[in-house]
Symmetry: C2
Subunit: 323 residues, 2 copies
């Protein structure tokens, strides 16, 4: 089915796990989706992935007028890009493939249409390099799997991007029900994947050194720190670990541990400037709430979370308490 | 109030944030707690911390006969250790302090009584070094804040520890409602803190380099990967990212990215042995369930989690959507 005039149209380029996730999210948000893949059989995988996603999206609540039928698949790039209000590229993570595909897209769509790339690691200026029409509107818009449920999308502009464009980009992804994070500076892996890669590499070392199995590493996350990480990141968590003194006290107490070989990743020097930046940032996040208030809030959340997650832990599935 | 004969007695040594957390957990589990701190005024902080913890513990459900009154505080170590079935040490994280305190405890309690240390980083063999009576029962039992809610406790034996002891240690911490993870080998930071430190150091670098504020780093965790980490660790997560091919496909596709500078932490070489260990480990965790089954389970969980966590996100507290 092609677009009705009142609906926003999203063109999704590449229909693997991530592309399919964008399709499902956009359909649930009430958009018309035009999906492209060079492989005509990709429609089967795409439909399977929507099958997986749809029950969760229905439980979350569909937007008015949302329908799985508002999807048009084609292997013809021109057909898919026609009338698109937003283009999302999900090609394999190889620079030459993305550069050439983005150049083709840039050449075909009007200058005002945003082109987001789902790249997890490539810098936007590299993505813009072969675009000649309006390279600045080619930005990184990096989502997280499953794209149809996780709200984070990292938005990163490149050297040709007007900062004002990022504000309108944020609004467009908010319309998809997401929580866009505008990244200040281009770096490989943006922000989230740098953090995830640090964890992943340390986990690989632990398995490689025979310290733990994959299962034990996962248990060490899931039953401990992982329970906090859906509410508080590493900074707010450590702000609470400092007791009444918050992050400032925590840095005093545990700062010296940064010199210890607790991971293979070397820590930065805790200069007065870095301490100030970290402590005042954490205090800003606390928003004037006392540690006791933050603790009570955390505990109410954790109680509710444990009620949910305990129903999903392995023994509920007859797998035994495996740690 | 001192112990009644039918109740298990836990001696908690040191009453800061972590010690208080153990006290609250043990009281809620229906135990008698004998708490020691060298500072007589520590009782005030301890009571405040129990005040914070108790409502959450009541919501979770107290054990039969559990009462806040089953607490006896003293600055006299002999008095607190008398009759203890389990001793938990929570002194400041300095080797000389812990060694001397643990030696005093070891000299005072019968050989069969387990002595756990909450140390986040010190190896158990170092903790045992000055214990002359029964050093093997001095082990690491490392919990996570808030101790009264998070179920993970890492158990690590030292060079004097009989492996059979670890099995009974596990049972004792299970009686406190915890999920003990027996760590195979002594390393600084055990398992969980190595992972958390890797994330923390990368986060500090991002702030230090001006790439992100503390708030942006936390948002990059909370709204994305953090939502998955209370259900699945990094291995099972990546097993699902691989589509039908699971972890094996994922390593093929993203293995080369390990050579890229996505974090300052160098990755291990992806040898055939490491690939096999990681892939077969992830497959064991999947427990014969297909990727589609795992995805459906993840999505049901995430839907329920989002319902909970959305009520706690900053805008619910008038702080605005801050990313």
């Amino acid at each position: 089915m092609k677009a009705e005039s009142s609906q926003k149209v999203m063109a999704v380029i590449g229909c693997g796990v991530i592309g399919s996730g964008w399709v499902a999210r956009a359909l649930a948000a009430g958009m018309q989706v035009q999906a492209w893949d060079p492989n005509p059989e990709a429609i089967t995988g795409l439909q399977n992935n929507i099958d997986t996603a749809w029950p969760a999206l229905v439980r979350r609540g569909l937007a008015e007028g949302a329908s799985r039928d508002h999807l048009h698949f084609s292997t013809d790039l021109d057909e898919v890009l026609e009338g698109a209000d937003l283009v999302q590229e999900n090609a394999p993570e190889r620079l030459e493939i993305k550069q050439s595909l983005l150049a083709s897209i840039d050449a075909r769509v009007p200058n005002h249409v945003l082109i987001g790339s789902s790249t997890s690691g490539i810098k936007p200026s590299e993505l813009q390099a072969q675009c000649h029409r309006a390279p600045g509107r080619v930005i990184v818009a990096h989502p997280f799997n499953p794209v149809y449920l996780l709200p984070l999308v990292e938005l990163v502009g490149g050297q040709h991007t007007d900062p004002a464009l990022m504000v309108s980009a944020r609004a467009q992804y908010e319309q998809l029900g997401m929580r866009p994070l505008i990244v200040r500076r281009e770096i490989e892996g943006h922000i989230a994947d740098r953090l995830m890669e640090a964890l992943w590499r340390e986990a690989l070392h632990l398995v490689n050194d025979g310290v733990a199995t994959t299962e034990e590493v996962d248990a060490a996350i899931v039953y401990g720190a992982g329970l906090r990480w859906s509410l508080m990141g590493t900074f707010l968590t450590f702000h609470l670990a400092g007791g009444e003194g918050g992050m400032r006290h925590m840095l005093e107490q545990f700062g010296p541990a940064l010199k210890q070989p607790w991971t293979r990743l070397e820590a930065p020097e805790l200069t007065p400037e870095l301490i100030e930046r970290v402590a005042s940032g954490s205090e800003f996040q606390a928003g004037g709430r006392s540690i006791a208030t933050l603790e009570a809030r955390r505990d109410r959340f954790l109680g509710e979370l444990l009620e949910v997650v305990e129903r999903y832990w392995p023994e509920q599935e007859g797998l035994g308490g495996r740690i």
